[in-house]
Amino acid sequence: MIVLSHEPIDPAALLRDFLRGLDDAGAIASFVGLVREDGGDAVEALMLDHAPGLTEASIARAAADSRDRWPLLKLIIVHRVGRVEVGEAVVFIATAAVHRRAAFEACDFLMDFLKTDAPFWKKQISRSGDKWIEPRDGDYSDSARWRKREL
């Protein structure tokens, strides 16, 4: 399931729903990304721009890709769009598999994808002004790990 949400999301409730009816899956990995205070800069919120249509299609392709790479029994990706306040969740991912390696790796892969390869644009709103956020170098090298593996 893939959801772009304009409203606040509740990771615990999403995990509860995800765990229902997973009789064959022993392993569930999940990830929550929260908007955090950025050190000294008093962050108030993120504004998340996206390209309706293109963004959903792009995430759907990554989800299909993860199912090709790992034997997943279920996955969910929920991503906020619009204004997300400090402390709120920006993203929730959960993956279920028989064994934990598949669940962990698929969850990790999907997060790397969302950071650098999904059509989202993040602007940080803080008291000292607004700024567009670029992925960190580490985000690009994280994403590159999965491409190397294909060789």
């Binding site: 998340l48 390209a51 993040k122």
Partner: protein
């Protein structure tokens, strides 16, 4: 006429969308964007400073892709989600 839609920091600069005229029945994405940049120094500078990608009608597309009247070009600065 094609619609050009801007995202992220390019939307701050150009607004969400603009209509652009075509000089020919079919032109490349690159040609349409070049013409917009010729009129707007800030947009030209932004394009030069980052790796921009394009989509045509919601499908990722190379700058050499041709567009015709009624098509929509999305102008995509580097992604940052999650």
């Amino acid at each position: 006429m094609v619609r050009v839609v801007f995202y992220g920091k390019l939307a701050d600069l150009m607004g969400r969308e603009r209509d652009a005229t075509l000089d020919l029945a079919a032109e490349t994405v690159a040609a349409v964007i070049r013409r917009l940049a010729a009129d707007e120094a800030a947009f030209a500078a932004a394009l030069a400073s980052m790796r921009v990608r394009y989509a045509v009608n919601d499908v990722m597309a190379a700058p050499e892709t041709t567009v015709k009247t009624g098509d929509e070009i999305a102008v995509l600065p580097p992604f940052s989600g999650g």
